[in-house]
């Protein structure tokens, strides 16, 4: 019961979630999508998750889409 198949690590999942939010908001246009993505993460993510995505953005600069990366920068400011 402990073996897990094809499960993302928490780090990968946080990156996936941030990119997924950004991708679904992209139709708003870049500027608004960045603001909306940042607002969404700030509103719905626990502080530890937010801190982790900020750290991951620094560790893996290419992992986040441009919109997601800008949004994460905004919440870390």
């Amino acid at each position: 019961m402990s073996d897990e198949n094809d499960v993302m690590s928490t780090a990968d999942r946080l990156i996936y979630m941030a990119n997924q939010i950004a991708r679904n908001l992209a139709a708003q246009g870049d500027a608004e999508a960045v603001a909306s993505t940042a607002s969404h993460i700030a509103s719905f993510w626990d502080p530890l998750m937010r801190a982790r995505i900020v750290a991951l953005a620094a560790e893996q600069p290419d992992a986040l889409s441009p919109i997601a990366a800008q949004a994460v920068r905004r919440i870390s400011a």
């Binding site: 402990s2 198949n5 979630m17 991708r23 969404h40 509103s43 626990d46 530890l48």
Partner: protein, 948 residues
Amino acid sequence: MTFTRETDHGTPAAIATGKSVTLTIDGQAITLPEGTSIMRAASLLGGSIPKLCATDSVESFGSCRLCLVEVEGRNGYPASCTTPVAEGMVVRTQTDRLKQLRRGVMELYISDHPLDCLTCGANGDCELQDQAGAVGLRDVRYGYDGATNMGQAKDQSNPYFDFDPSKCIVCSRCVRACDEVQGTFALTIEGMGFDSKVSASQGEGFLGSECVSCGACVQACPTASLIEKKVVEVGTPDRAVVTTCAYCGVGCTFRAEMRGEELVRMVPWKDGKANRGHSCVKGRFAWGYAQHQDRILNPMIRASIDEPWREVSWDEAIAHTASEFRRIQAKYGTRSIGGITSSRCTNEETFLVQKLIRQGFGNNNVDTCARVCHSPTGYGLSQTFGTSAGTQDFDSVMQSDVILVIGANPTDGHPVFASRMKRRLRQGARLIVMDPRRTDLVKSPHIEADHHLPLRPGTNVAMLTAMAHVIVTEKLYDEAFIRERCDWDEFADWAEFVSQPARSPEAIEPLTGVKADEVRAAARLYATGGNGAIYYGLGVTEHSQGSSTVMAIANLAMATGNVGREGVGVNPLRGQNNVQGACDMGSFPHEFSGYRHVSDTATRQLFERTWGVSLDAEPGLRIPNMLDAATDGTFKGLFVQGEDILQSDPNTHHVAAGLAAMECVVVQDLFLNETANYAHVFLPGSTFLEKDGTFTNAERRIQRVRKVMAPLNGYADWEIVQLVANAMGLRWTYDHPAQIMDEIAALTPTFAGVHYDRLEAEGSLQWPANDAAPDGTPTMHIDGFVRGKGKFVVTDYVPTDEKTGPRFPLLLTTGRILSHYNVGAQTRRTANTAWHPEDRLEIHPSDAENRGIKEGDWVALKSRAGETTLRAQVTERVAPGVVYTTFHHPETQANVITTDYSDWATNCPEYKVTAVQVMPSNGPSDWQLDYADQARMSRRIAPLEAAE
């Protein structure tokens, strides 16, 4: 409440025309709506004309000839049930001639009826018996020597009721109830004249027939011909308590009819505003789980999940729970524990669990099962309309002209509402069904969808945007409504987006697999067919774009002006009985009751003043986040009330890993469910029959749950939470759930007017119920949206990342079946297993043939997440390339297949899209065998040590 029968006026109320007439009945004048029957008029005057074939749940029939009356100036003796009142009419209901005629009719009935009243199950509760007395029958002149219909074999195949044709008077009430109330058309009168008899389907037993066991026929039967087995076994009830069903979001109210502390039967309450006197097989009959031998009645603890359970006192269990949670927080931090509220529990209990977490745990790590069902509804409707709720009451559907059903199967999931919807469809409303499966609504007796859009799973947003494309480019939108009620600039941006050629039905046809012409026709019908109402279910929300789909639906409704009056609206069909209430009560980690964000200082201070503590201003963890954090080692303790996340949540392997990584899992439930296999403390729960409280249904209707028997475990669930809270140092002093509701009302503007005395007086209230709407709000957004202007949100189609390919070429979608509820913890412990003893995999004949699979074969179902086995059901209900199963049975564990992909906004799992392969199999998977062993070991209970 003592036992009194509900008044039966004989015929339904007349359809309102605004006109009324005045007549005289037995010397008493009465004024009432035209179209009312004389029978109903007499009943409203307090009289009762003898009757047998008439009952007010079905249209009049005029066959028994017992209800004859005399009308001055008219010849003959018209049947009062079929004769409408007229201005100036003078009616006599009791004359010597009428008495003579009625006795003659009754004499004929009784001459072919067994006279075993004293030993009959319906003795004392039989209309035939009553009417024989009412007409003064004292003798039957015909004798019993000739041919009769007595002595026929009973049909006892249905697990809940018997059919005894010998006691049938062929009044057709059961047939008409099946047709008119339930809409299944399973019953008929077979044969002619003396040989006439009630028949299920083609002379089959009830169990094997099309009968869905809703109980409408049993309720309508005036004799003991159709009678509950429980009444036969126990006897007739001697008291009744009105309460609310604990299955599904329809929220039917029932009379729990009791004999002492024993529940004899649940009879749908005619005054119930959600169900209007109807029921389904679950609410009507499947309540036996409450007394099932599997119920755990004593608290238990263990140090490790490898050990057997040890029964302990309540004091020890509660102290251990509090001690463990405090120990974990001291070691790992305030945010290292959390809890899950139950959509099966009452509003008051749910409120207390989230209060325990926010006030007692000191964090916002609270979530609820809506995470895995309607969390996208909360997000999507909040963004567009301003609040997280459906817009209508159920009665609204009777004013609809076009009904658009998206990703919902109401005949299985919300059967009582489905019957109401089908009644409206039979009256002529048009129907569009958007669903990958050919559900019963698409084509069933007297119902046929104008358009069925069998889209490929995962393409909802593309489909709805294409419908919007048609509405905008063909200028079918309601400009006046949009200009008045919505932000015009946002509409213009949205309209520009959906008008792009890439959004057209032709462009998206390769994605959805639905012909463009059909999409165009459906869009035109919805936009121009009159009152357009959208009803949707988990086929909308349980996708990676669940929230986008909800917003796309709201866009369509606003664009066509279908919001803010009866007959229209956006209506999420909620899954569990109190999922609306659980969300309302602040069960999400980012918001307090009434959908107010935890970062809102004014709201937070209101709670802080009331609760006397500082509250966390940061959102907490959602269920999947808790599980991730657990496997990472930062989340160590979980309180789970009335949910079974191991069976219900996606990717069972990952859920198990998360639970196994925790140091203290506390499960409060009726049974040792699958999650309890990973628990360290088990607190026995109470059933809805054993406690007071309220549930809130899918139409925002708050209804009372009333205790009809003492809790077998000793405490109602709210009392148990209070014990835990006080053991953790809180000082709660609730004596009754009414006090909890008072606190909810004080802290929640939309519930400000909700108190038990109001609920007692009104029967129910639909929120918002406050100073602005003292009697509640059946229809929302009438004069304006809650958020002010309705917001059009651009919803771009983003394909799911769950892809089919050579290894996993089919798409699995999951759902429910009529006879079972959610994870089946309740219904599997009832005779409902007669209809659905196991989960089966629906597969299209061509996919089955390609794989050498025949009906009933065992098949292996495999995805990237896991593998299970179950038996195949070869059917054209699913399209080629799509397979479907239910998740009611832990032996199958359908969620070992589903993946971690989820809605972008809410993390609602993508249950409806999993790439799978199906292959013939000859037995359970290794995982199933291992799981069965582990579950068996985990459920061991150590024998009590003998007292010294």
